[in-house]
C-alpha cells in the first residue's frame, strides 16, 4: 500500500510536469493536444476510495489550470472522469471481479481489455474538455474532430506509457 502511495504520488508529479512542459507544446495546427495527465486517474489501484480519486484528480486539474491559465477547465473534466471511473471499470469488469491489490494496467488485464478501458476514459475526458473549452455547439464538428484527433494521440501515448513501464516480455496476458 505504501509503495502504491509513493508510486502514484510520483506518477502525479511526473505526469503533471510532462503535460506542462512537453505535451502542451505539441500542437499540430491547433487541433491536436494530447493530454496524458489523465493516465494518473486511469492507473490508480482498483481499491482506491472514490473520494481520494476525486480529491487527487481535483488537485491535478487545478494545478494544471493554474499553470495553463484556464481556471476550472482541466479541473472540471478530470473530476468528471474521476467520478465516472468506477462505472467504466464496472462496465468492463471480469465475471469474477478484479483481483485485489492491482491496478487497471495493460500488464494486469491484457491488451484487449486495456484498449477498451483507455478509449472510453480518454473519450469521456477529451469530449468534456473540448466541449467546455469551445463552449458552443456551432463548432460541434470542429470540437469532435479535436476530440478524436487528440484522443487518438493520447491513446497512443497511454499505450507507450504502459509498454515503457511494463516490459512486454513480462506481460501475463
Amino acid at each position: 500500500m505504501i509503495s502504491d502511495l509513493i508510486s502514484n504520488t510520483l506518477r502525479f508529479a511526473i505526469l503533471l510536469a510532462l503535460q506542462l512542459f512537453v505535451f502542451n507544446n505539441i500542437q499540430f495546427s491547433g487541433y491536436v493536444n494530447p493530454m496524458v495527465y489523465i493516465l494518473f486517474v486511469m492507473m490508480l489501484p482498483f481499491e482506491t476510495p472514490v473520494w481520494l480519486i476525486l480529491f487527487s484528480s481535483f488537485l491535478l486539474g487545478t494545478l494544471l489550470d493554474i499553470f495553463c491559465d484556464t481556471p476550472g477547465l482541466h479541473g472540471t473534466s478530470i473530476v468528471l472522469l474521476a467520478f465516472l471511473r468506477k462505472f467504466v471499470l464496472n462496465l468492463f469488469s471480469p465475471r469474477d471481479g478484479y483481483e485485489s491489490n492491482t491496478s487497471p494496467t495493460l500488464y494486469q488485464l491484457g491488451f484487449g481489455w486495456y484498449i477498451w478501458y483507455a478509449s472510453i476514459m480518454v473519450l469521456i475526458h477529451h469530449l468534456s474538455f473540448f466541449m467546455l473549452e469551445a463552449h458552443r455547439f456551432a463548432e460541434l464538428h470542429k470540437t469532435l474532430f479535436r476530440t478524436l484527433a487528440s484522443g487518438l494521440l493520447t491513446l497512443v501515448f497511454a499505450l507507450l506509457y504502459q509498454y515503457m513501464i511494463y516490459r512486454p516480455g513480462s506481460a501475463k496476458s
Binding site: 473520494w51 476525486l54 493554474i66 499553470f67 481556471p71 476550472g72 479541473g75
Partner: protein, 277 residues
C-alpha cells in the same frame, strides 16, 4: 436526522464529486472576472517563477529564428539612426552674456575617420563649413586635446591630429606656467614630447600639462596630459619631457571643435606689432 447522516455517509463520493465539480465549474464560468480568483491564475508567483525558468530553457530552441528577427530589426533601426543621416543643422550653442564677450564657441562633431598608427595621422569629422568650421580651429574631447582642423569641405573637416609631425602645439606646465612646444615623435600614440622648458624650472613626474593661448587656437587650460618622464640630457639647457596624453586618441568618437571668435583680432594685432619692428 439519523437517516440524513446515513444518507450523506452512503453517498459521500457523490457529494464530494458535486462539490469539487461545482467549484471547478464556478471557476470556469467566473473566468471573465477571475481577478477575484487571482490566486489561481498564472500571475501566481510560484507559477510565474517556474514559467520563467522553463521559458529560459525553451528560448534556446528559438534562437535561430530570434536572431534572424533581431538582425532584421537592427537593420531597420539602423536605417532610422541619426548616424545614417548627415546632420545639416548648426550644432552650436551660443550664449549671450552682456558682461562677458563670448570668445570661444564649441561645436560638437562626430569622428567618422581616425588613425593613430601612421607617422602622420589625420581625423575626419562629420561637420564642415556649413556648420561654421574653418581651418585652424582647435579640436578637443571632454578630457584632452585632439588636434587642429586643416581642410574643410561643406560637410566634412579634416583634422591634423596631434599625432602628426606637422602638429606643434604651444603647451604649458599648469602649476608654474612655463611654456614649451609639444609634438609627437612617432611610435607610441599615448606619448608626446614637450621641449623648450629650461632645466632650472622645478618639475616632477605627474605634473599637468595644458594648452595656452599663444597660438590663438586653443583656449587656455585645456588639458593635454601629465608628465610621465622628466630627464635632462648631459650638457643640455632644456628638459627632455615625455607627456602622457589624457585623451585616448584611439577611441574618440565625439569631439568639440572650438571656434575662437577673437582670433582675427589677436592675429592682426600681433602681425602689426611685428611689422612695425
Amino acid at each position: 436526522m439519523r437517516n440524513l447522516v446515513v444518507f450523506f455517509y452512503r453517498n459521500v463520493n457523490l457529494f464530494v464529486f458535486i462539490i469539487l465539480e461545482g467549484f471547478c465549474l464556478f471557476l470556469l464560468y467566473s473566468r471573465n472576472h477571475y481577478q477575484k480568483a487571482a490566486f489561481i491564475s498564472s500571475s501566481n508567483r510560484i507559477a510565474g517563477d517556474i514559467f520563467t525558468t522553463v521559458n529560459s530553457m525553451q528560448e534556446y530552441f528559438h534562437l535561430k529564428e530570434t536572431n534572424e528577427n533581431l538582425a532584421i530589426e537592427n537593420a531597420t533601426l539602423r536605417n532610422l539612426l541619426r548616424s545614417a543621416y548627415h546632420a545639416v543643422d548648426l550644432r552650436e550653442k551660443i550664449v549671450n552674456d552682456t558682461s562677458y564677450h563670448m570668445q570661444y564657441r564649441y561645436i560638437t562633431a562626430m569622428v567618422i575617420n581616425n588613425s593613430v598608427n601612421r607617422r602622420n595621422n589625420f581625423l575626419t569629422l562629420g561637420v564642415g563649413s556649413l556648420q561654421g568650421i574653418k581651418p585652424e580651429m582647435a579640436v578637443i574631447t571632454s578630457n584632452g586635446i585632439v588636434g587642429i582642423t586643416k581642410d574643410v569641405s561643406p560637410h566634412y573637416t579634416s583634422v591634423l591630429s596631434i599625432l602628426n609631425k606637422e602638429a606643434r602645439i604651444s603647451a604649458k606646465i599648469k602649476k608654474n606656467n612655463y611654456f614649451g612646444s609639444l609634438y609627437w615623435e612617432g611610435g607610441d600614440y599615448r606619448m608626446a614630447t614637450l621641449s623648450d622648458i629650461p632645466t632650472h624650472v622645478p618639475l616632477a613626474v605627474g605634473d599637468t600639462v595644458t594648452t595656452n593661448t599663444f597660438s590663438a587656437i586653443f583656449p587656455d587650460n585645456i588639458l593635454i596630459g601629465t608628465l610621465s618622464s622628466v630627464k635632462v640630457k648631459p650638457g643640455d639647457n632644456f628638459y627632455t619631457l615625455t607627456v602622457r596624453f589624457s585623451a585616448n586618441l584611439k577611441n574618440i568618437t565625439h569631439v568639440y571643435v572650438i571656434k575662437n571668435l577673437l582670433k582675427e583680432e589677436q592675429k592682426a594685432l600681433e602681425e602689426k606689432s611685428q611689422n612695425d619692428k
